[in-house]
């Protein structure tokens, strides 16, 4: 089956990422495909390029886990409208808005809301992980 996933929570402040990652790994292990993981609302903070796991959770590195999902071919898409207003910007947006630096990790891409809908349209299942 083909799945579309959405993540609405920020790293280390909700468990949305942990649940989405645990679910995604199990999906792939069962032979399913992930059309796209879409980061919406406060989930866009997952795409920041400088997150450091808190010391109390030294063994959980979400950025590394997203990286390994990305390396396996899963598309990680950050909502551009939700993202740029929260300072999650790629080089294009940095230039467009004349910002001091870009902040989006290179594992992720900034896309429009249309990419959420097209992922859902292409998928058999849509699963949402709230903040």
């Amino acid at each position: 089956m083909i799945y579309a996933l959405a993540v609405h929570g920020a790293p280390y402040s909700s468990n949305a990422a942990e649940h989405a990652l645990g679910f995604a790994d199990a999906l792939l292990a069962r032979g399913h495909q992930i059309e796209r993981v879409f980061f919406f609302h406060e989930g866009v903070y997952q795409g920041l390029n400088g997150t450091v796991p808190p010391q109390t959770r030294y063994n959980v590195n979400l950025a590394q886990r997203w990286q390994s999902l990305r390396s396996g071919g899963t598309e990680l898409a950050v909502c551009i409208a939700s993202g740029i207003k929260r300072g999650v910007v790629d080089e294009n947006e940095q230039e467009r808005y004349d910002l001091p630096s870009h902040t989006l990790s290179n594992m992720f891409e900034l896309v429009g809301l249309g990419q959420l809908i097209s992922a859902i349209a292409a998928a058999d299942r849509y699963v949402e992980f709230p903040a």
């Binding site: 089956m1 799945y3 468990n15 649940h19 645990g22 679910f23 790994d25 199990a26 999906l27 292990a29 069962r30 399913h32 058999d124 299942r125 849509y126 699963v127 949402e128 992980f129 709230p130 903040a131």
Partner: protein, 91 residues
């Protein structure tokens, strides 16, 4: 049938008002505290599941869990294979 993913006790409350009696409910994250509400409402244990790691983390005891079965992520995926649509509740 639908699958309800319940992420908080408040979410369970909202879900129960709008759920078909044949719909399965998976409680995860803070939703695992909802097993108390589930039993109080005399709902059949067979229609609920708990995500094992989340229940364990929060100290949900065998008594609190009752006859509600737990699942791991593999079991979570299996539930989503068999049900549609999938609705998340956190309120």
């Amino acid at each position: 049938m639908s699958l309800h993913l319940v992420f908080s006790d408040a979410g369970l409350k909202s879900c129960l008002l709008r759920r078909h009696p044949q719909d399965l409910v998976l409680m995860l994250d803070d939703g695992v505290y909802g097993c108390h509400r589930w039993h109080q409402a005399n709902l059949p244990s067979s229609m609920a599941r708990l995500l094992r790691t989340d229940a364990e983390a929060r100290g949900i005891s065998a008594v609190q869990r009752g006859a509600i079965e737990t699942v791991d992520y593999d079991g979570f995926v299996e539930l989503t294979e068999a049900h549609s649509p999938i609705i998340s509740w956190k309120d």
